[in-house]
């Protein structure tokens, strides 16, 4: 999934930070609030739901706009994500066009217009 985001970022002018695990992302998220957070569900060591609950307890991320992306295209996962207040639950695979649309929809600018 990382490669899709990196290609979209390369064709656009938004700033992308990609991390391979929840713990790795804390180097950034401890001090920064992204305009949009794309969060996987199945990650090494910690699942996306647990991680988002932890983030939500921090003032900085109490309402960070979040889109969950997962191969787990199950109704129970969609409900779990919704209960955590995510903007959308998107099932993998997701195209570059769909990524651009989500950014445009929730960040408010056309990421391909550089």
């Amino acid at each position: 999934m990382r490669a899709f985001f990196e290609q979209v970022a390369g064709e656009s002018d938004f700033e992308l930070h990609v991390y391979d695990s929840a713990d790795d992302s804390l180097t950034f998220l401890d001090t920064q609030r992204p305009d949009l957070l794309f969060l996987n569900v199945m990650m090494p060591n910690k699942d996306g739901y647990t991680f988002l609950k932890e983030l939500r307890r921090k003032d900085l991320h109490s309402d960070t706009p979040t889109v969950m992306i997962s191969s787990k295209d199950y109704a129970q996962d969609r409900v779990a994500a919704k209960e955590l207040g995510v903007l959308e639950f998107v099932a993998k695979p997701i195209s570059k066009k769909a990524i651009r649309s989500l950014i445009e929809k929730y960040v408010g600018n056309d990421p391909s217009a550089s």
Binding site: M1, R2, A3, F4, Q7, V41, M42, M43, P44, N45, D47, Y49, T50, K53, S71, K72, D73, Y74, A75, Q76, D77, A80, A91, K92, P93, S95, K96
Partner: protein, 302 residues
């Protein structure tokens, strides 16, 4: 006989299947005992845990155990209300499973025993019960080190990797292998040509993650619920086709695979046919992995 072993008490998925035609494999739902000397670890509390409880009440060597739950779907917890050691003050029992806190775990296990679903609640348990607070550094029960990891099944579901008697045993009762790959196959028309390579990388990353948890383990107990025909109808139910399971285990360099979480509609002959096909796949791939049917009552020395 070694004092370390694995024993299957329940091997069915979804619901119990106590039919005469199924009893060679067994009709009880998920429950596996891992024993290392006097230390007893139980994976899941399906109906198989009821018989385990009866056996434990008939002995006096041990009075303490830990139960780890992969998740809280009924076939994995429905034996717990009938687990006799929980009702005995002589026993100390620890419970662990998915949840943010020990209170979460307690709630998820105890809710099934509340009215109107059950006549007595967990408050009637007289054993010394402890719900284990999730910690980042993993679990242990005596000499058994336990690590949980996320698997592909609706909601948060764990697999467990356990180091026992110098061997690594991995228990993955419910896991839909290769789900992303089949999702891509179904939706490939949505992607541009230049995205196909990216999709292949995505599948490769997912495969690496699937393999990482079971790489070179000595014993793997894994979901192999469906035939290819039935999987085509039940894709998205969170379970694997046995063909995907056996290929995953071969790719991961597993020493010995136990097919598990058998579909309750399959009789002994159908499970035997699945086993034969798995052995054929292993031969065709020139692999040297052992493969057996997880069978109720089967005891595997560690």
């Amino acid at each position: 006989m070694s004092d370390s072993y694995l024993r299957f008490w329940g091997v069915r998925g979804s619901y119990a299947a106590p039919h005469e035609t199924h009893l060679g494999v067994g009709g009880n739902t998920s429950c596996v005992e891992i024993r290392s000397g006097d230390h007893l670890l139980v994976c899941d509390g399906g109906t198989g845990i009821i018989s385990l409880g009866e056996e434990l009440m008939a002995q006096s060597d041990i009075a303490e155990l830990m139960v780890v739950f992969t998740h809280y779907h009924w076939d994995h917890i429905c034996g717990l209300p009938f687990f006799q050691p929980a009702f005995s003050p002589a026993w100390k029992i620890k419970f662990f499973g998915p949840g943010d806190t020990a209170a979460d775990i307690e709630k998820r296990l105890s809710d099934q025993m509340k009215a109107p679903y059950f006549p007595v609640e967990t408050e009637t348990w007289m054993a010394d019960i402890e719900y284990i607070e999730p910690e980042a550094h993993g679990l242990s029960h005596g000499p058994i080190n336990i690590t949980e990891f996320n698997v592909h099944h609706p909601g948060v579901t764990y697999g467990y990797s356990m180091d026992v008697a110098g061997k690594r045993v991995v228990y993955v009762s419910d896991n839909e292998v290769q789900f992303l790959k089949t999702s891509i196959d179904k939706r490939i028309h949505e992607f541009d040509e230049d995205e196909h390579e990216l999709l292949e990388r995505m599948v490769s990353e997912q495969r690496s993650a699937e393999l990482a948890a079971i790489e070179n383990v000595d014993i793997l107990v894994h979901d192999a619920q469906y035939t290819p025909h039935d999987y085509s109808k039940k894709r998205g139910w969170g379970h694997s086709c046995y063909v995907d399971t056996v290929n995953l285990a071969i790719d991961a360099g597993v020493g010995c695979l136990y097919l598990y979480h058998h579909d309750p509609t399959y009789n002994d002959d159908q499970v035997a046919a699945i086993h034969r096909d798995c052995l054929q796949i292993i031969r065709e791939r020139n692999a040297d992995m052992e493969c057996h049917v997880g069978r109720e009552g089967l005891k595997v020395e560690l």
